[in-house]
């Protein structure tokens, strides 16, 4: 993939995508597995509280997602994911998004192209059908970021 095809991704995401492209298809799976193992456990406020998280139905296995937007100048985005250990691919997708987007300003997260999940060279390694899960996660993250940023902005105006 030419470098400019990653030009519209946030810096961290572009770097991670580059890591994936630098290795063979087989090693890409290994990289995804590592990201799945590094996905941090939920903080106390979410642990055991799936009812306050959003369920991502596009994933083959249940994944729960929580998005927070901090009331600071850049409207910093924080992401939390929960998926069982028996779903390493789903966890790996979550790991990619967390590694790429956690801590970014809301504006940058909203600017991430919807086809970003396809920029990691994974479609052939895991099969295109399995990519739907990551596309679903990204669209739900952006939707929640939009809603939460609006809520904070509205509060500021009130």
């Amino acid at each position: 993939m030419a470098v400019d095809e990653r030009a519209d991704l946030p810096k961290g995401m572009a770097e991670l995508a580059e890591d994936f492209h630098a290795v063979s298809e087989k090693e890409r799976l290994q990289l995804l597995l590592e990201l799945s193992q590094e996905l941090p456990a939920l903080p106390e406020r979410y642990a055991g509280h799936q009812e306050v998280m959003e369920r991502v139905d596009e994933c083959q296995s249940p994944l729960f997602l929580a998005v927070e937007v901090v009331d600071d100048a850049p409207r910093t985005v924080q992401l939390f994911f929960d998926a069982p250990a028996e779903s390493p691919t789903t966890r790996g997708f979550a790991g990619i998004l967390r590694e790429s987007l956690d801590g970014l300003p809301a504006e940058e997260v909203l600017a991430v192209p919807d086809d970003a999940p396809y920029r990691f060279g994974l479609a052939d390694a895991v099969s295109p059908l399995r990519m739907r899960g990551m596309v679903g996660m990204l669209s739900r993250i952006k939707r929640q970021v939009r809603l939460r940023r609006e809520a904070i902005d509205a509060e500021g105006r009130a």
Partner: protein
């Protein structure tokens, strides 16, 4: 004989199912090859039954271009690189109550591989029993598996055949929400993969999971007969078509009807709802 063995010998084709005890005793058997086939493409890599090899339903069994299974030559490569010969006993296990394991078994049956079995209870049961798992990938001496042409005529149904079949026994094994068509209504979210929701006219709703116990093992024969024969009125001599969304869950039901209950003519419609629900001009019932 354990209770589990007693359950298995009661099935129509008991040779199609093995227990975890049987598998544990045959891990070093040179005539047995164990394959793990999961929904999650990485699960095998997190740890698997010692000696087992990965067989991915999508990457290994599906053609990369057209929506179809691999042909005879590619299938021979897939088998050969796993050290499988035409006479090898293949035992398949996997996640999700063996959906993908059953799917792989069904595809191997299209190629007429004679001795292919499922591990009752799949991966979850092996893990729950605290049995050994490893991340070591075994080294395989490749074999020359013969190039056999796939026979789609007996076990597989295509869309036009399913259309002709309307009015005869058909089993929709998806969840009740998918059967009724409600699951397609999710505004703002990516589509579930079909333009229309509902089911093929006349299909009976028998979710696949009814054939499984909580631990993923198959229900005993008499309980399966109570569901498919008594409640649904099917008979082992019936010409039956089973379908789901992409053909994996219906492989599970195909296995139940064919091998556990001894039905003689069950075909899996692998195009399933992702084909039917996107096709122009086919009848849909809600």
């Amino acid at each position: 004989m354990t209770e589990h063995d007693t359950k298995i010998v009661a099935y129509a084709h008991p040779e199609r199912l093995v227990t975890t005890d049987w598998l544990a005793a045959h891990l070093d058997d040179p005539d047995v090859v164990v394959l793990e086939s999961d929904e999650d493409v990485l699960l095998y890599d997190t740890g698997h039954i010692p000696g087992a090899l990965k067989l991915d339903w999508h990457l290994d069994l599906n053609d990369p271009l057209s929506r179809d299974y691999v042909g005879g030559e590619r299938f021979a490569e897939v088998m050969g690189e796993r050290g499988i010969g035409r006479d090898t006993t293949v035992v398949i296990y996997g996640d999700k109550s063996n959906w993908w394991a059953a799917y792989a078994l069904w595809v191997m049956s299209l190629f007429g591989h004679e001795d292919v079995r499922l591990l009752d209870g799949g991966r979850a049961k092996w893990v729950a029993e605290g049995r050994e798992m490893t991340t070591d990938v075994p080294e395989v001496t490749p074999t020359a598996y013969p190039v056999v042409e796939r026979d789609d005529s007996r076990l597989r149904a295509f869309k036009d055949q399913v259309r002709e079949h309307i009015g005869r026994p058909m089993v929709d094994v998806r969840s009740p929400g998918e059967f009724s068509g409600e699951l397609l209504h999710m505004p703002d979210y990516p589509q579930e993969g079909a333009m229309r929701g509902g089911h093929i006219p006349g299909a009976r709703s028998v979710p696949w999971a009814r054939a499984a116990n909580e631990d993923g093992t198959f229900r005993p024969r008499e309980e399966l007969e109570a569901i498919y024969l008594e409640e649904q009125g099917l008979a082992p001599s019936d010409d039956v078509v089973a379908y789901c969304r992409i053909g994996e869950r219906s492989s599970h039901t195909w296995f139940v009807l064919t091998h556990l209950l001894g039905f003689e003519k069950v075909r899996n419609y692998d195009g399933s709802w992702t084909e039917w629900g996107n096709s122009v001009g086919v009848p849909v019932e809600r």
